[in-house]
Each structure stands twice: as C-alpha cells, then as structure tokens.
C-alpha cells in the first residue's frame, strides 16, 4: 500500500534532472553563504524557496500533458490581458511599469509569460500539425510579438528579449526555414552594428538601455555609474585565476566591490572564489541539465511535447548564458539572475516549474510505451 503510494509519488520525477538540479543548488548554497557574508537566514530562505519550487515542480510533473495542452490557450490569453492591464493601470517604479497591484500583493505578469508563450506556441503548432505551412509561422510570429511588444513598452528590454527568445525557439524546433533564420541573424547583426556604430541608439531605445549597451562596449566611459558593475565583476573573475581565492576569501566580494553580489552578480563571487575550475564545473552542470532536457525533447511522443521540451531547455540555457556573459563583460547588463544560483524566490519557482513541465513531457512518453 505504502509502496504503491511511493511509486506513484516518485513516478513523474525525472531522476537526472533532479540530481543535476540538486548539485547546482548545493553549489549555490556554498557561494551564497560567502556572498551574503555568512548570513544563515539567506540560506534558510533559499531552502524555503527550494521547498516551494519542488512542490510546484511535482504538481506540474504529475499533471498529464493533455491538461497542460488545454491550459496553454487560457494561460496565454490571461497573460496578455494582464500585460494590457499593466500598461493601463500598472504601478510605476524607477520609470518602468512592470507591476500590477491586485490588492493583496503586486504581481509581474511578464514572469507568467515566460512559460505561457512557449506553451501557447507549442500547442498552436501541435494543433495544426497535419496541415502545417508557412502561414502558421506568420500567425505564430504575431502571437509572439503581442506579449513581447507589450513588455518592451513597459519598458523591460531584457525580459522582452528573453521571452522573444523562448518563442523563437519553439518556431525553430517547429521547422522555421533555415534560410529565414540565416537572414534574421544577418539582419539582427547588421542592425546592431549600425545602431552601435552610428549612434542611432538613442532613436530606438530608451536612454538607460542605450547607456547599458554603450557601457558594455566601453565600460571606462562611465566608470562611476553603469560601468562600475562590469569593471568590478571582471576584476573579481579575473583575479580568481585558475583555482580561485578559496571559499570566503574573495577580496572583491568581502570588501564590497561587487554590487548585487547575492543576486544578479553572484557569478562574480563564484568566479573569484572558485576560479576557472569552478566555473567549468558550473558550466558542465548546466550543460548536463540542458542535455537531459534535449533528450527528453528527442524522446517526446507528441509534437507538443517535443516543441515545449526543446524550447524550455534552450530558454534555460539562455538565462545561464546571458547572466554569465554579462557578469564577465561580454553582454550588456540586463536584469537576469543566474538560474538556480541567484538568491530570489520568483526565478527559482519559475525555473522549477519549467523542469516540472519537462518531466511531464518525459512521463508522457513512458505512459505511451506502457
């Protein structure tokens, strides 16, 4: 009886995803302890977040994939409506409208969109699987542009690009023409070149966004302001060397040189204290998670499952890459936490929710086989 219960409880869980997640989590506790100046409260918070996130993951993992399919459209519609509501009634903080006050608490609908958009697109392609042609890609692009545009208007360039990436990955796996992809890459690269080199930036982006891009290209241009993060982060990582300065020994970290060192810039602390070896281990763990995700996509029974698993996995990769890239100074500073490592509940829960969906996709196949 108990055995049966346990079997049912455990069955939806993918052991590999869970194992790699735990390993990254372990590393994150070690580095957070140092970054927070040995604040045990933060560690216990982190465990609370993990507990909540695991519950969310389990619930989604045990959910039949069909249920998720049915949820895709309503979630997307609600997400878009909430974004419209933010644009109309949202509360403004530091010049951006991102939050919606719903009496009890404030919510940030763009967080929901991170899952809702890939779900919606995967469902859409799945629905028209039999008759799929280029027109469907046009519709999908429109479905993608609506939330991305709304978020860009808030303005939240970073999040809107990440969500656009999530949507793009679904299109990519659904078979978007290689030629088109090539064209887009060329056009994007060309545009970025023109904008940054001809000072057109100011006409297209908000001032602070241009500032960030300009700062990334030349941090010494504004060493007291926006460039400070990048300079100090780079020094921290560079001074870590091959083996790192050792746990709790990062001078950049402990002399307050790294801003936001428990959240967005926690990777600078990691790089300083654990060196290149540590960085490679972390990247490898992420890589294992990603490989596991892609293999779930490969084995998925339905188009919906394949697209969803593939897109969520690449999205996860994007977060990891963008965060490490910005801290080490090869990407502009956007507000993206390091997945599973940065201190913060929202990002933890939404990542584990994505893992839950991946597990649901994987379980779906097992059931089909059975």
């Amino acid at each position: 009886m108990i055995k049966e219960f346990l079997r049912r409880f455990i069955r939806p869980i993918d052991p590999w995803l869970l194992l790699f997640t735990f390993l990254v989590f372990l590393l994150s506790c070690i580095v957070l302890y140092s970054a927070s100046n040995q604040d045990m409260d933060k560690i216990s918070d982190k465990f609370t977040f993990l507990g909540v996130a695991l519950c969310v993951m389990w619930v989604l993992a045990s959910m039949p994939l069909q249920v998720l399919m049915r949820l895709a459209l309503p979630m997307y519609v609600i997400g878009v409506l909430l974004l419209v509501a933010v644009a109309l009634f949202g509360s403004t903080s530091h010049g951006a409208k991102r939050w919606l006050n719903i009496g009890v608490t404030k919510i940030q609908p763009s967080e929901l969109m991170k899952l809702a958009l890939p779900l919606m697109l995967a469902w859409y392609f799945h629905h028209f699987e039999a008759s799929l042609n280029w027109k469907h890609f046009i519709v999908a692009a429109v479905l993608m542009v609506i939330p991305v545009g709304l978020i860009m208007k808030q303005p939240d360039l970073g999040t809107s690009l990440l969500i656009a990436a999530a949507g793009f990955y679904v299109l990519f796996f659904a078979g978007l023409s290689w030629r088109l992809i090539g064209l887009m890459v060329l056009a994007g690269g060309g545009l970025a070149y023109v904008v940054t080199h001809w000072n057109l930036c100011i006409h297209i982006l908000r001032e602070y966004q241009c500032q960030r891009v300009a700062t990334m290209l030349d941090p010494m241009q504004d060493p007291l302001g926006a460039g400070y993060h990048i300079i100090q982060g780079t020094i921290a990582i560079g001074s870590g060397g091959l083996l790192g300065k050792g746990w709790l020994n990062g001078t950049q970290t402990h002399l307050d040189f790294i801003p936001e060192r428990t959240t967005d810039f926690i990777f600078a602390v990691f790089g300083e204290e654990f060196g290149l070896i540590g960085n490679i281990i972390l990247v490898l763990l992420y890589l294992l998670l990603i490989i596991r995700g892609l293999s779930i996509a490969n084995n998925a029974a339905t188009l919906f499952g394949r697209l969803l698993a593939g897109a969520l996995t690449l999205t996860f990769f994007t977060y990891a890459f963008v965060n490490m890239g910005m801290v080490s100074g090869i990407l502009p500073v956007v507000g993206v936490p390091l997945p599973l490592v940065s201190y913060g509940g929202t990002s933890m829960v939404s990542l584990m929710a994505a893992f839950g969906i991946l597990m649901s996709v994987g379980k779906d196949r097992k059931l089909m086989k059975a």
Binding site: L224, S239, L276, V283, I291
Partner: protein, 631 residues
C-alpha cells in the same frame, strides 16, 4: 494518404526535428565554449593583471568634485562663491567608539559643543555617508597638529574641500537660497533622475532659491581619477585622470545694491518687495523680510540655530515674496478698471455718484471716506481710491468676467519665476469655490461676494511676486515675460552665455486707448492722489497705486475699523512703475500689518525708485517722507 506513407512522413518529421535538436546542441556548445574561452582569457591569460588590480587593494576611482558655479549680481558683485579649506572628517564605520574618538580629538583640536551637536545632527540626517565633518575650516596649525598625531586616529582624516560662502550674509538670502548636505531624500531624487553617479564625492546640493533651481547648471560634471591604492588606503599612483567640468556661473538680473536698499527700507518690519524690469521680466530686487544667514546651512546647521529660525514668530525662513499670499486691497483697482474697459462693461467717462455706501442684497458696503467722494469717473476712482465705484463695477462685471480677465495676468496661477515653491494664490471664481468647499451651500457663489472682490478683498489672495508681475504688464502695455532672477548662465570654460528669458511669454491684446486710461490714472495717483505725498519732489515721472488689505473678515463686505491688535492690523501695499514714458522698473511692496499703504509701503517704493532711477541714496531720502492720508 496511405498508412505507410503517413508513417514514412512521421519518420521524416522525426528526422527533421532531430536535426534541429542537433543544431540546438551545437548552438549551446559553441556559446558555452565562448564563455569558457572568456573565462580562460580573464582567469588565466589576464590573471596577473587582474590579480594585481585586486591584490594591491584594487583600482580605486576617486571622484574629483567640480567647483560649484559662482553667482553674480547684474553688475558682477559676487553673491555666492567657493573657498578652499581643510575639514576634519570621521568615518563612523571605521571608528570604534565615536564618543571616545571625539573626546581624544578634542585634546589636540578645539572642538566646541556646537560642533558636537552639529555632528550628531548630521549623523541622524545622513545615514549612508562614509565620512562626516566634525570640524570645518581648520587653520594651518590645527592641520599640522592633527597630521602629527594622525596615526592614533584610524578612520579620521583631514580633507581639503571647497566651501560655499555667501559674502553678503542675510542680503538676498531668499532669492539666492543656500546649499546644504545631501540628505536621504536628495539621494532618492538624484537616484530617480539618474544624476547620482555625477554626485559621487559631492556632499552638498542646492536646497532653496537659485542655488536649488539652477542646481544642474551650478554643479558641473564630476571628473575622476583612477588610482591604485595600497592596503593602508594611500594612493600609490594615478593611472588616468579625467578632469571635472566646473559648474556654470550665474549672472542674476538682480541689482544687489538696489536689493540692499530695499531690504534696509523695511527696517524691522515684515514684508516683501519685488521689482521687475518690465522690458524683459528680469527681477531687479526680490525681498522677503525678515531674512536669514544662508552661511548657517552650508556646513550643516546646528540644532540651536535651526530651532531659533523655526520657532521665530516672524518666520524668517518663509519666502513671503514667493509664497506669502495676501489680499491685494486697492492695488487691485487698476486691474479691475482695465478689465472693465477691455470687456466694455463701463467706459472711462461714466460718472458714478459715491454717497459713501453701496447697498446690495441687504448688505451695506461702505467707502473709506465717510460721506463718499461725490461724482467719480474712472480716473478719479483710481486717484482717490474710491471703493463704491468698484463695488458697483464688480457687481456689473460679475465674477466670471473678473476672473477671466485677471487670469490673463497670471493672478491665481504661478508666474513661472525660476525658483521653486511658488504659490498660485487664489483667484476667486465659481469654479474655484466649487472645488475649494465641500457642501453645496458653501460651494455656491453668491453675487454679494463679487462686490468685495472689486476692491481686492474677499477671497482674493496673491503673492507680492504676482502683483509685481501684473504691474509690469501694465507698465509694458501688455507684453509679459516670465519673471526671472537669473539673466544668463555663463559656461566658465568657453565663455558661452545662455540667456534665460530671451522673448516675451505672451502679449495681451489690450486696446491702446484702454491701457492709456489706466496708466494715466496711475500717474494721477502719484501726482495728485494717495501716493502724492510719498512721491513729492521725485525727479522722475511715476505711476502707482496704494492699497490697504484687511487681514481678517475674509468673508468681505463688512467694514472694519483699523487700529486693532498688531497681528490683525491691515497689510500695506504699494504697486508702481517708473518712468512713465519708458518704464524701467515695476514693483510691488507689501508691509505685513503695516497699516495704510500710502504711509507704510509707498515710502519704501520711493527709496527703491529713487536709487534705481537717480542713484539717490536712501540716507538722504529717509527723512523726506512721513505719513500721508488714507487710500
């Protein structure tokens, strides 16, 4: 489609998807590869360099604070400047017991109880600051003494800083304003506006007056030095230096000598005076009495002085010219007359018989002069300041026409002067009353209320600045400028000048004949009317109007005997401009509880106009004037 080909199709699809997966995996590997390459570059190839930067206790970016812009009057007299001095500063976080540290310091350097109180207040006001001054303006001997003992005081250092100084002290304090230490709210504001990086190293910011409103010009752009610092906190060498851009200088339109004469003319009385050049809106004098010494605020004011300023019943920190609102009394009449002419409500020649009373709706509105002024036309109504004429005129015009016309002169709205905190005053109208009051009975406008509006009483309340602004409009026949204290901003590095108010804000389309009637009548006030005594023997032509505003009975309409308690005594007003053919100055004077305008306010205006137009010093002028008759 056959089952076989369907399966084949699925296989093909499957294969296509796997190709995509492989591409995705390659994408991931390449980008992670780039990351690893970047890490290797930073942590292996460049490790030595970054190691050095971090090991030698890091690159330190030392901000170089730009010198704040200097403020001059129109003739180049310095009103606010900087001087360099040494301060003794404590970084509380690096000092164990603060109390003990200060006590030990007191043995080598004189630290007064006032310094201690001020330091304590600074600690409370500015939480985020690294180092705070315990003593400012050290002399050379004190610096030397501390230097010899500095090893005993980790966390305490001597710094050379620029200090702001207002050489004229109390003179023009309300318009110049002052700077003070940046507090938490300033920090928040700077953060919100994105200016915070430019304020690294700066610990003062404009708080009031021109110092505040031109903060972004005066501050300049912070430079920085990229310095290598060893573990002891000493700079080893400078790697790179970007010089600061000094703050821009301000040249005011204010004539500080005129300002001083105007302030002296008030004596101990409270009040305000604003003088404007009607040809360009430049403010020539901007007085609010009493004033305060802005130098008190620069190093952080000590609690005792702060308390004194705040509890003083005369409220020296209150900028009366900008923020004090008063009923204008009879100085409102020329504007009423012009409104009547422009709106065709009454012609200049129409004669009213003033019997001394005006009856309306069961109320009796009385004239100042018992028995009345007899037959009164528009000219005479202004010259002798006849109330009954304006009771009936206001009644004829109605509140809507009055408020519409007065609104064009900026009554009831900010004049747009270039310092913050301006009050709009109250321009009564039906709409204003609806918004101002809660219950339907109090929201309704009663025709009887319009009557006292005509003589500048009732709900009317304007700032001395608004009165001067409107007077300038009459002097300049309807061409209006935003009043401005700063004439131009000078970039000290290249001498470029930016003029603050180059063109008129608006031109009111008054008929020349109408404005001429009002101007002529205001000249009459000076020649043969209520202002004649104050202006006897003036060597120039002037136009003006006296006013006496009741302090209480704001409901209006009821006659009140003057000569009551001091704080309930009437406010004295005088507005004027001169010379009449090509006005160079327009002004409004208000003496709080001063009594009659002709007696209290007009003589002040006389001294100001005398100096500005003839260069005559008030020492000779003071005895000329005594009290005069009623307005």
């Amino acid at each position: 489609m056959s089952r076989r080909s369907e399966i084949k199709n699925q296989m093909a699809e499957r294969y296509a998807f796997q190709l995509r997966l492989a591409a995705a995996a390659l994408f991931v590997l390449v980008l992670f590869g780039i990351l690893i390459a970047r890490f290797s570059w930073l942590q292996v190839a460049q490790h030595g360099r970054y190691q050095t930067l971090a090991e030698q206790n890091r690159i330190s970016l030392v901000p170089i604070v730009p010198p704040r812009g200097v403020i001059y009057d129109r003739n180049g007299v310095v009103l606010a400047h900087n001087f360099s001095a040494y301060t003794l500063e404590i970084t509380p976080s690096k000092v164990g017991s603060l109390e003990d540290c200060i006590n030990r310091l007191a043995k080598i350097i004189d630290i007064t109880p006032k310094d201690r109180r001020r330091f304590k207040k600074l600690m409370e006001d500015t939480k985020d600051f690294e180092s705070l001054p315990i003593k400012t303006r050290l002399n050379d001997e004190e610096v030397a003494r501390f230097a010899a003992n500095s090893y005993q005081f980790p966390g305490v250092e001597v710094k050379a800083r620029l200090f702001r100084q207002y050489p004229l002290g109390k003179v023009a304090s309300h318009l110049i304003g002052y700077i003070g230490r940046i507090n938490d709210k300033d920090l928040q504001d700077l953060d919100d506006s994105g200016d915070l990086p430019n304020y690294r190293g700066t610990d003062h910011i404009g708080k009031v007056g021109v110092e505040q409103s031109y903060e972004s010009d005066l501050h300049g752009v912070t430079g920085f030095e990229e310095v290598e610092i060893d573990a002891g906190g000493r700079a080893i060498r400078t790697l790179k230096r970007t010089p600061p851009m000094p703050g821009k200088n301000l040249v005011l339109s204010v004539d500080i000598k005129l300002q001083q004469i105007a302030e002296d003319a008030f004596g101990d009385r409270k009040g305000a005076l604003v003088a404007i050049d009607p040809q360009n809106g430049g403010v020539l004098a901007f007085v609010s009495k009493p004033g305060f010494d802005p130098n008190l605020f620069v190093d952080g004011i000590d609690p005792q002085s702060w308390n004194d300023l705040n509890t003083d019943p005369d409220k020296p920190l209150n900028n009366r010219a900008l923020r004090g609102t008063y009923p204008p009394g009879s100085t409102f009449k020329p504007f009423m007359a012009l409104g009547a002419l422009e709106g065709n409500f009454r012609s200049a020649g129409t004669v009213i018989n003033d019997t001394g009373v005006f009856n309306f709706g069961g109320h009796t509105f009385r004239d100042d002069k018992v028995g009345g002024h007899g037959a009164v036309d528009m000219y005479k109504s202004i010259v002798v300041s006849c109330d009954v004429y304006y009771y009936s005129l206001a009644n004829t015009m109605g509140i809507d026409a009055i408020s519409r016309f007065m609104g064009t002169l900026d009554f009831g709205s900010p004049t747009g002067i270039d310092i913050d905190g301006e009050q709009s005053g109250v321009l009564p109208s039906q709409e204003w009353k609806r918004k101002r009051f809660r219950t339907p009975a109090t929201q309704k406008w009663y025709a009887g209320e319009t009557v006292s509006i005509g003589i500048g009483q009732g709900y009317n309340a304007y700032t001395p600045l608004q009165m001067a602004h409107a007077t300038a409009a009459i002097a300049n026949s309807g061409v209006m400028f935003h009043p401005h204290l700063v004439q131009y901003i000078v970039d000290g590095t290249n001498g470029n000048k930016t003029v603050v108010e180059p063109k008129p804000e608006r031109v009111l389309p008054w008929k020349p004949a109408n404005i001429a009637v009002v101007q002529h009548a205001m000249e009459g006030v000076i020649k043969e009317g209520t202002g004649a005594k104050a202006f006897a023997g003036a060597g120039y032509t002037a136009a003006g109007k006296t006013g006496t505003a009741q302090v209480f009975s704001l409901k209006g309409g009821k006659y009140s005997e003057s000569g009551t308690k001091a704080h309930l005594r009437d406010h004295a007003w005088f507005i004027a401009y001169a010379p009449t053919d090509h006005p160079k100055i327009a002004l409004a004077v208000l003496v709080e509880n001063g009594g009659w305008g002709a007696a209290a306010a007009a003589p002040i205006a006389r001294q100001v106009l005398d100096y500005y137009l003839t260069g005559k010093q008030p020492a000779q002028a003071a005895s000329d004037v005594e009290s005069s008759d009623s307005d």
